[in-house]
């Protein structure tokens, strides 16, 4: 599996950047010639991961968010979303459907959606240091789409 592209963006944890981040990743993913549905899935997962940084990692302040998209020659994309915020004390709990520390403004479905819309989801976190979410998704080759 060889890397064919690697794009990295950094921005502040402003909620107005949620649409920027998912659109930017979709633009890069478009190089793999995905269907609209595949693109929608990737956009949704990125939106969830970036929203988590904005809502949970930096609840009281603005912080840095890094999003990296890597494309591979097996027609797959790997998206990394990283923050240097407060970290997740209990990752298993955070990944539980409907569980949220965000009150009734949040549905608690963020990680569940990332899991079901991507092929693989990896979460690493250290309290006080930050969180890294790595997601992978294979894009079906065009020939089988017809």
């Amino acid at each position: 599996m060889t890397e064919i592209n690697n794009v990295r963006i950094e921005f502040l944890s402003r909620s107005s950047n949620e649409s920027f981040a998912r659109t930017a990743v979709a633009c890069i993913a478009a190089q793999l010639d995905p269907t609209l549905e595949e693109l929608g899935d990737i956009k949704t997962a990125v939106s969830e991961a970036v929203t988590n940084c904005i809502v949970h990692a930096y609840p009281e302040s603005l912080g840095k968010i890094m999003v990296r998209a890597r494309l591979f020659d097996d027609n797959s994309i790997e998206v990394t979303v990283r923050d240097w915020g407060c970290g997740i004390p209990d990752i298993d709990k955070a990944r539980t459907p409907m569980y949220s520390t965000g009150g009734d403004d949040r549905s608690g479905m963020g990680f569940t959606i990332m899991e079901s819309f991507m092929d693989k989801l990896q979460v690493r976190s250290k309290e006080g240091r930050g969180t890294t979410v790595i997601m992978r998704r294979k894009i079906s080759p065009r020939v089988s789409k017809k």
């Binding site: 949620e18 549905e37 899935d41 939106s47 009734d104 403004d105 959606i113």
Partner: protein, 107 residues
């Protein structure tokens, strides 16, 4: 995110247009709650015909609207849901609580 509403015969119809994410969620909830409080409808329809994108923030918006409608003794459903928002709704199992009608109904 553009919001619109119409009220007729006890039915409040709220139109969502654009992209519903965390950034747009608060404004959307405030708008819906204000409309419910103003009309006290017996039914509320969330019309998603022009909603091109929604993430899990939209689930929280739907559940909050549902609770407000329950408080005023009414029911609600979600209509005209496009593909991407529908996938989010189904992944979240929200249809256990709120009725979802995916296809655009032609008059």
């Amino acid at each position: 995110m553009t919001l619109g509403a119409s009220y007729e015969g006890g039915i409040l119809r709220v139109f969502l247009s654009g992209e519903l994410d965390h950034h747009a969620a608060k404004k959307t909830v405030d708008f819906i709650e204000k409309k419910i409080d103003a009309h006290l409808p017996r039914e509320m329809v969330l019309d998603m015909k022009d909603l091109s994108f929604m993430d899990s923030s939209g689930i929280a918006v739907i559940l909050k609207s549902y609770r407000r409608m329950k408080e005023v003794g009414g029911v609600m459903q979600v209509e005209n849901v496009n593909k991407q928002p529908l996938r989010v709704l189904l992944a979240s199992n929200v249809e256990r609580v709120v009725k979802i009608i995916a296809e655009t109904k032609e008059a």
